[in-house]
Symmetry: C2
Subunit: 329 residues, 2 copies
Amino acid sequence: MGHGGGGTLSGELVQHVFAPAFGGEHLAALGDSALLDIGGARLAFSTDSFVVRPLFFPGGSIGDLAVNGTVNDLAMSGARPLYLSCGFILEEGVETATVARVAQALGAAARSAGVEVVTGDTKVVEAGHGDGLYINTAGIGVVPTGVDIRPQRAVPGDVVIVSGPVGVHGVAIMSVREGLEFGVEIQSDCASLGGLVQSMLGACQDLHVLRDPTRGGLAAALNEIAQASSVGVVVQERAVPVPPEVANACAILGLDPWYVANEGKLVAFVPRADADAVLAAMHAHPLGAQAAIVGECTDDHPGMVVARTGLGGTRVVDTPLGEQLPRIC
Amino acid sequence: MGHGGGGTLSGELVQHVFAPAFGGEHLAALGDSALLDIGGARLAFSTDSFVVRPLFFPGGSIGDLAVNGTVNDLAMSGARPLYLSCGFILEEGVETATVARVAQALGAAARSAGVEVVTGDTKVVEAGHGDGLYINTAGIGVVPTGVDIRPQRAVPGDVVIVSGPVGVHGVAIMSVREGLEFGVEIQSDCASLGGLVQSMLGACQDLHVLRDPTRGGLAAALNEIAQASSVGVVVQERAVPVPPEVANACAILGLDPWYVANEGKLVAFVPRADADAVLAAMHAHPLGAQAAIVGECTDDHPGMVVARTGLGGTRVVDTPLGEQLPRIC
């Protein structure tokens, strides 16, 4: 299960099994999307499969995730997402009403994100060889001229911004899956970040890195960027917004909210001179209202993420080995 | 299971569940690929999921299918296939060696087809919720200026060409799945048709329709085109090439080879004046060496496919309800 968690084990699978087999210059870049020049257009191209359990959860469904997961991967390269493909794998016996409800959620999420589902496929496997349904989406977006956002572009001095409170999606899933109640219902933050990114680009075209901290959470995203750019990252522990109900749930469950998946948040690495303008643009957008500066890049400890604790100490923030919660998206 | 078979039940699922939920002008065209204008480029975009059982079979594997299935869908719009995405859903416990062997087959098939795998994703589901592994690929290709190939373009008078013997892939899968032996080993015809299509376009840019007769076989492909174009199709039964070992196996198994899936064949609807030139171009290509004219379009019985039997009779060739062999690709 750990190989699907977006941490070290997933990385090893890509590095040792898939990358050598597939080869190619584009795959080696290892961003959330591939960047392609086709007929004069600069395109971003990305894919994700979705196996979340349960299919419906507070704040969303596998249909919403299937749109927003891929749209957000495209947006993390600065692209304007345009088109999606959609492949369903249905387990024999899943009710048509369930499939229809998922398809309607998917269609509504696509319209809300401003993308069009243009091509699709359906396969059916025997009962016992699936889990209701799985979805794959792939997406195409257009990257504006002059925009160059990728995990390799962080430099010492960059300011690290998160777009809002972390850990919400994972705790929302966990609470329904395990039948836990925490006094208040925690809703997934599942959302399309395409509009927020366009707002940020309006304030600063030279954003260095964007990443949506999904599987592996904030900790995995920061470590990936620190390693790809060979910079150190220092995070002020108290600056990272964690909703109290998420903090409480994580305390009970023995989870660290920095490692819990998000589906409607992003991390931005921004030149220091532009940080205030970018933050203001984020605050003006509904999905960035609680955006906060949480840290900075340094040339100390390249490839490593360090947290400054409230008491003035420091601790290393490791890459997770797997995922604390399997099948989170 | 029938809803995954590419026949009437699959069509109903698309028509009544997916199309109304997703909406959009591009999906309504219902070709093998969507055709998109992006930044001045004419792109084809398509997706397929692959759930074939077993993962390895004579003449190929799920990795070969995952490349060729999507590449062929792109080629059926006349596009030159360029880039693939690849999403793996792994079942907990599948051996890394199996995953690596599939990935290597997929990489080799991509190189052979002249496409690059540029982006990917891996998810893992618990043991008992998958069947080893499933793959989704999506592909992007470029459609040359002036090319307009789609299922709606067949007109009375068009000549119908198949690129070679039909029914081979399905029988190859069936023979290993059921442990049947027919004296000779029947190898899948799994292949990338991009090069063959480019050769055909060299002989005639105005190809009207191309279709790869996968799930549902030749019968489903001809019916889809007859219905999309509102033309009648008349097929000379004896002109359709069926290898003797496939005919024998089908006789034993109670299958009709016209309904059995192919993974390296195409059906072309070509203006009568260009038919000889297109056939000659096909014969000059290794994957079209056994191409044959099998019928023509008529304005009688629009939307219906009719076979002329060897004895001079006629019979209606129906759209299959589901698929004779589940999980064939």
